[in-house]
Homo-oligomer: 177 residues x 2
């Protein structure tokens, strides 16, 4: 089973993330779980989250990039769900061996993510925080799927990204599902 945690603070304003999500939500074996819909007050039900995780073999973290990271509710999810004794440390092997895919969109053109660009770093400079969170829990990190320029990406480019997303999940399911 693929558990797709969707963390968009303003889902109705979303263009890129919505198109990406629409590209995969009807796939068999994909459970979409929209965190901001469930927890608008940031009161995450940890037991329910862990129950969902139990049957997942691939965990997708899909969210726009906010200040070079995941939105605050997904960050809080890391903090309250992925605790010692559950996700790491003695007895903490609940996520071991599961796969993890980060799907994200940025507001800027790709060339903003260069050393000389607006964001002064390559996109890869912001990956360690998220990747190492997954790896510290024993998850296998897949190559992230990143869509740049979410606010003005042409429809055909967005459509292609959604197709890539769909193919990656289908491929994963064939190999591992």
């Amino acid at each position: 089973m693929i558990l797709l945690l969707y963390a968009h603070p303003h889902p109705r304003r979303s263009v890129a993330n919505r198109a990406l999500l629409d590209g995969v939500r009807d796939l068999d074996g994909v459970e979409v779980h929209a965190l901001y819909d469930h927890y608008p007050d940031f009161a995450i039900d940890v037991a329910a989250e862990r129950e969902r995780l139990a049957s997942a073999r691939l965990v997708v973290w899909q969210a726009p990039l906010y200040w070079y990271s995941v939105p605050a509710l997904l960050k809080l999810w890391f903090e309250v769900v992925l605790t010692r004794g559950y996700a790491y440390g003695p007895g903490g092997s609940a996520l071991e061996g599961k796969h993890c895919l980060w799907v994200t969109s940025t507001g800027a053109d790709p060339d903003a993510y260069t050393d000389a660009g607006r964001h002064a770093h390559t996109f890869g400079a912001f990956e360690p925080q998220i990747r190492q969170t997954a790896r510290f829990c024993g998850m296998r990190w897949l190559e992230p799927l990143v869509v740049h320029g979410a606010h003005r990406v042409p429809p055909d480019v967005l459509h292609a990204a959604a197709q890539t997303y769909r193919q990656r999940l289908e491929f994963w399911r064939r190999e591992h599902g």
Copy 2:
């Protein structure tokens, strides 16, 4: 004025951050603002936060390192306070020229933060997200103050770190305050 935003989700359990805070809280011109005390429900009062920021010339983000970043409430603070038109973009110059200091503690020994260590990266690999958040808002980034091994750091080491913190704020105040 120095605005010290303190973001500890469990302040009563804190050892290192509390000692650091106690080292500076009585300094003239330091306003300590404990985010988790004010906003246990994550409902940040954006106008009040901006009022505090208006008179600050140095903004300190003090928080334990949670999943290689700041705790979720401080991340949310970035998202709702540092918005376009206020902190960046057209008309967004409210923080321009202010200085920014990140003070943080980790739970692991320093050698966990090496390529071969438990966290598989140097500490510096996790700095771009926070540093670039400040810089994108036009703030001047000061060298972060990091205390490793917060759970078992010997009292004298912790005391020395608190003194260093105090000296850095005093020095800043002499130069810029």
